[in-house]
């Protein structure tokens, strides 16, 4: 992943972060809310190689740490998404190219979103944060997973196009 592509990816992610914070979070989804930002980030991470997924996880985590609604320490999302990026890339290598297997992509991204939120909660417990009622948290995690499952299928073509657009000539070759 080149510096220019990292910067461009960060800009794209920040755009989706703004959309999430100002618009998507206002929608009263049934079961629980949907994180478009996590869906896009994990989708882009799934299309990257190992180095790219780790770097994008860290960048995406830092942006999510900027969320004014977040009560957790700055850097927690960066830590979690860097780890998720690594785990993603490890598993992705065994699955193959996602662009040719959309169902695998959708399942992978929604499982990733669920796992990410669960890891976030577990890290919260480790850091001594009060996460509230377990049932409510599980509802949020499951709800987000279901919505990610539904929306990631719609987002896949856009994400592939977006990623191809950010590739440098050298990376295309």
């Amino acid at each position: 992943m080149s510096w220019s592509r990292a910067g461009f990816s960060a800009l794209i992610l920040f755009f989706f972060f703004v959309v999430q914070e100002s618009a998507i979070s206002k929608i009263d989804f049934p079961i629980s809310g949907f994180s478009l930002y996590l869906c896009v980030l994990l989708g882009l991470m799934a299309l990257e190689d190992r180095f790219g997924a780790i770097a994008m996880g860290f960048i995406g985590g830092l942006i999510l740490d900027l969320s004014p609604s977040s009560d957790s320490p700055f850097g927690k999302w960066a830590l979690i998404l860097t780890l998720v990026g690594y785990l993603f890339s490890r598993n992705r290598e065994s699955i193959g190219d996602f662009t040719e297997r959309p169902i695998a992509f959708v399942l992978f991204v929604s499982a990733g979103a669920t796992a990410t939120l669960l890891i976030f909660l577990i890290f919260g417990v480790i850091l001594g944060e009060n996460n509230g009622a377990v049932i409510t948290n599980l509802q949020t995690v499951v709800g987000n997973g279901i919505w990610t499952l539904l929306f990631s299928s719609v987002l896949l073509p856009g994400l592939v196009a977006l990623r191809n657009y950010t590739l440098t000539t050298r990376e295309r070759l």
């Binding site: 703004v18 999430q20 914070e21 100002s22 618009a23 998507i24 979070s25 206002k26 929608i27 009263d28 989804f29 049934p30 629980s32 809310g33 949907f34 994180s35 930002y37 996590l38 190992r50 180095f51 780790i54 770097a55 996880g57 860290f58 985590g61 999510l64 740490d65 900027l66 969320s67 004014p68 609604s69 977040s70 009560d71 957790s72 320490p73 700055f74 850097g75 927690k76 960066a78 830590l79 860097t82 780890l83 690594y86 890339s89 939120l117 976030f120 909660l121 919260g124 850091l127 944060e129 009060n130 996460n131 509230g132 009622a133 049932i135 409510t136 948290n137 949020t140 709800g143 987000n144």
Partner: protein, 306 residues
């Protein structure tokens, strides 16, 4: 080549994990850079949220509207007949002209409590990925809103101001798991701590082991030094059920809040309290039971007229 790439990835992973841990440590030690970065983001997002708020508010309730579509037809019929009855009542009841809207409700409560308030629109809600219950309002330091000020709705406490920018503020709602408030039971004057649980239920823990809690007991805010973060005497909620467990030293109760935190449109930030607060003036009054008065007029009997 592949081994080289793997080593490079592992090195990057270690560097980034260490960097993240370093950032977490800085934040936990209270370094202002990390705190300020969130304030800067809030300043950036507030105008966008305000702009999107007008456009997005009809879309926000789309799913709940769709979910209730089936119910709506049956409800519509009931409501039509109910509406007809209510129309009749309106003609005879001049008091119904004074029905208050949400903002008026808030201002009314604030007025009775002697609170000087700044009213604000809710322009944002907390993201589901953060697990925290917050809202963003369109009033900030320019309007006199400061950190740790009490936020109220038309029926009582809503939350507390967590952070501010010149034009917006983030309010930590009372159902957030980290939310704690000292409360006083209006009936027995027992004091306890109310805790949010992330959903619509709250737990009240009495500080005094000999204190008493009963179902439907009204809870008022206890207040803080200089009225920050909490002003005294604001209705918080009522006791839904009392937990009788021998495992705890103090009594616990399940509480329901007066404010419906799911449908907040307008809230007020309490800027100042006059005359030491409202004491018990804001205790919600139970609805008066209508009494029937029968007048008996004796009609003249035929014998009496003769």
């Amino acid at each position: 080549m592949a081994a080289g790439g793997n080593n490079r990835s592992r090195l990057l992973l270690v560097i980034l994990l260490v960097t993240s841990l370093f950032l977490i440590t800085l934040d936990l030690r209270g370094v202002s850079i990390t705190k300020n970065s969130r304030s800067a983001t809030q300043s950036l997002l507030a105008p966008i949220q305000r702009g999107v708020s007008d456009f997005f508010s009809p879309v926000g309730n789309f799913f709940s509207d769709v979910k209730n579509f089936g119910k709506t037809k049956a409800e519509l019929k009931d409501l039509k007949s109910e509406n007809a009855k209510l129309r009749e009542k309106v003609i005879f009841n001049q008091d119904t002209n004074g029905q208050l809207n949400k903002l008026k409700g808030v201002l009314d409560l604030a007025g009775r409590g002697g609170y000087k308030v700044v009213s604000a629109r809710v322009i944002g809600k907390g993201s589901s990925s953060t697990f925290s219950q917050i809202i963003t309002i369109d009033a900030g330091t320019n309007d006199g809103v400061k950190k740790d000020m009490t936020v109220m709705g038309e029926l009582g406490l809503v939350g507390v101001v967590k952070s501010t920018t010149p034009t917006s503020a983030i309010v930590l709602l009372m159902n957030d798991p980290t939310f704690r408030i000292g409360v006083r039971i209006a009936r027995s004057q027992s004091v306890g701590v109310l805790m949010g649980e992330g959903d619509n239920t709250y737990t009240l823990q009495l500080l005094d082991p000999s204190g008493s809690i009963e179902v439907n007991d009204v809870l008022l805010s206890l207040g803080s030094d200089n009225n920050r973060p909490f002003v005294p005497g604001l209705p918080v909620g009522y006791v839904k059920s009392v937990k009788n467990t021998s495992a705890t030293l103090t009594q616990e109760a399940s509480v329901r809040s007066y404010s419906n935190l799911g449908s907040l449109g307008v809230v007020s930030v309490i800027i100042r309290v006059s005359n030491g607060g409202p004491k018990d003036a804001l205790i919600p009054q139970p609805m008066p039971t209508p009494t029937t008065t029968i007048y008996v007029t004796q009609s003249p009997t035929p014998e009496a007229t003769n």
